[in-house]
């Protein structure tokens, strides 16, 4: 299963619900305002670092760049993908569950 999260972890509980209910070992893609959860040095970092050990966590590069963040600001263990990578994840790791 591929879980996709597009809501900020500071504003909404979508990511928490996802982490609580997703089966260990599944894939999680952070995109749009969800990319903030992939950042180092934030109040959410410890939680996501732990999650990156239980899940395959990805973050969409174009949404990171749009918000002014670079790859080196992403938590270790979280993989940056482009739109092609998003498509590959959908094909390889689907079905997709969208956490709105």
């Amino acid at each position: 299963m591929l879980h996709i999260v597009n809501k900020s972890p500071f504003e909404r509980s979508a990511l928490d619900s996802c982490l609580r209910l997703a089966k260990k070992g599944s894939a999680i893609l952070l995109f749009e305002d969800g990319v903030f959860a992939a950042l180092k040095g934030c109040a959410t970092t410890d939680k996501m670092s732990a999650a990156a050990r239980d899940f395959n966590v990805f973050v969409l590069g174009p949404d990171l760049s749009a918000r002014g963040f670079e790859q080196d600001q992403v938590i270790d263990g979280v993989t940056v993908v482009d739109y092609g990578g998003f498509v590959d994840l959908t094909v390889d790791r689907g079905p997709v569950q969208s956490w709105l």
């Binding site: 900020s8 504003e11 749009a66």
Partner: protein, 131 residues
Amino acid sequence: MADFEEDFDTDGIIKKFMYVHTRAPYGTVYALEGLEMVLIAAAFEQDVSVVFIDDGVFQIKKGQDTKAINMKNFSPTFRALEGYDVEKLFVEKESMEARGLTPDDFVVPVEVFDSEELSLLMNEQDVVITG
């Protein structure tokens, strides 16, 4: 008719307007719409303060590059506010720190206030609009 015009004669009335930005840019339209409201108040030469709290602090993050998401990068517009005499920009310390940001990360000079200081400032306003 003369009375009507008189009733709506707002020349010289300046109110203290505070715009409170609470949302990240691009994921929703709130940030861009909020910025437009600031520009409108500035055009009417009001006493404008702009505050960034919660995810609103991400609106003024340096280095935004929106080419790949095919949306307009509106962060440079914040730098133009000075030209409209909008110079009172505040960031809430707690929100900034929770997001791993420092004043060096912002496209404009800001004053960093803690929530207690911001609360006092809010209380001095005639109009507070949150978006």
